[in-house]
Symmetry: C2
């Protein structure tokens, strides 16, 4: 293999990929949902803490449960998507560290330090959200990530034990290119980067 990704791969993941708002009828198999996770979980997190927890909402009943929490502009496209993943993070992730980071007592770094727990879960859960998006694209899916929903309502409906907080949601499927918006501009390197 080459030591770098070829142009087709860079296009698929970064350069040609778009956030989709409309979806074709093509279904997304459960095997593919597992394959996304099995790739994305390999991405790095701090002390391998892996706080992400996922609910894939695929059934009509599941979508109806999600619907009241969505901002008005996000209802139609979300209900039409083959799957919408709720990407959450577990505020008790540190209880899993004896398993995930077995060579030292990393659990004790967090226990009782709520600010560190919250920041670590949110930061690393978000990293895992991005790995998830790029893993889905790598497997040929299109993504529609969204923050426009009521987090407290989603938490109550899908994570009733109170330990897991929703981060963002991400519809998955095969996008309808006719529903794309024009791509928004990005920064130039010199606007936001420095080399010291």
């Amino acid at each position: 293999m080459s030591d770098i990704l070829n142009d087709a791969g860079l296009d698929l993941l970064f350069r040609d990929a778009r956030t989709h708002n409309g979806w074709t009828d093509k279904e997304v198999s459960d095997v593919l949902l597992q394959a996304i996770f099995d790739l994305a979980k390999m991405g790095p997190t701090s002390a391998n803490c892996s706080p992400q927890r996922i609910v894939y909402v695929k059934t009509q009943a599941g979508k109806e449960k999600l619907k009241p929490a969505l901002m008005a502009g996000n209802v139609e496209k979300t209900m039409a998507a083959p799957v919408t993943a709720i990407l959450g993070y577990d505020l008790e992730f540190y209880e899993q560290l004896p398993k995930l980071f077995p060579h030292t007592d990393a659990r004790s770094w967090f226990l009782g330090n709520d600010d560190l727990i919250e920041a670590t879960a949110f930061r690393n859960g978000s990293l895992q959200g991005a790995y998830f998006i790029l893993a889905a694209r790598a497997l040929g899916l299109d993504c529609g990530p969204m923050s426009g929903f009521d987090n407290a309502m989603v938490d109550k409906a899908f994570f009733p034990d109170g330990k897991v907080k929703s981060n963002f949601i991400c519809s998955l499927g095969y996008g309808d290119p006719s529903k794309l918006f024009p791509r928004s501009p990005r920064f130039d390197f010199d606007e936001v980067c420095k080399i010291l």
Copy 2:
């Protein structure tokens, strides 16, 4: 091209990639640092808000400025890395929305809402941190992301205007495989995912 990434690409980004602790002497060119950014910036953020701000620390003087903020266990490997990127997020990102999201007044969604500003900057800055790691890997680099440093000291030294907050740092280079730790375990699908 294929509609999905080939196995070599999946290995490069996810399955064989590792967090590195030791580095070969091979340098990282400034062109490559720009290329990472130019790929990673294409990843999706909420309302295209793109809050990430990057300082690539490459010189000895820059590394000496970073050194006192590092946790003891991270000093040697960070000083030895060809480049260490400080990945921050701009708490005044919304001032750029008229440029980045020009078709509506998205700036007004944020102005004066400090909780929404903080959550949006941290979530999306973290997403961009993950895009950065995978873009660097796609270009053949190895990464050593780290949260083990004093954020307030780094902010004071590298973002003195107070608007940008450091998120995490990430060393870049060509890893020395002899310094790798064994890979830590990951969750199985059923442990942290549900399909509803």
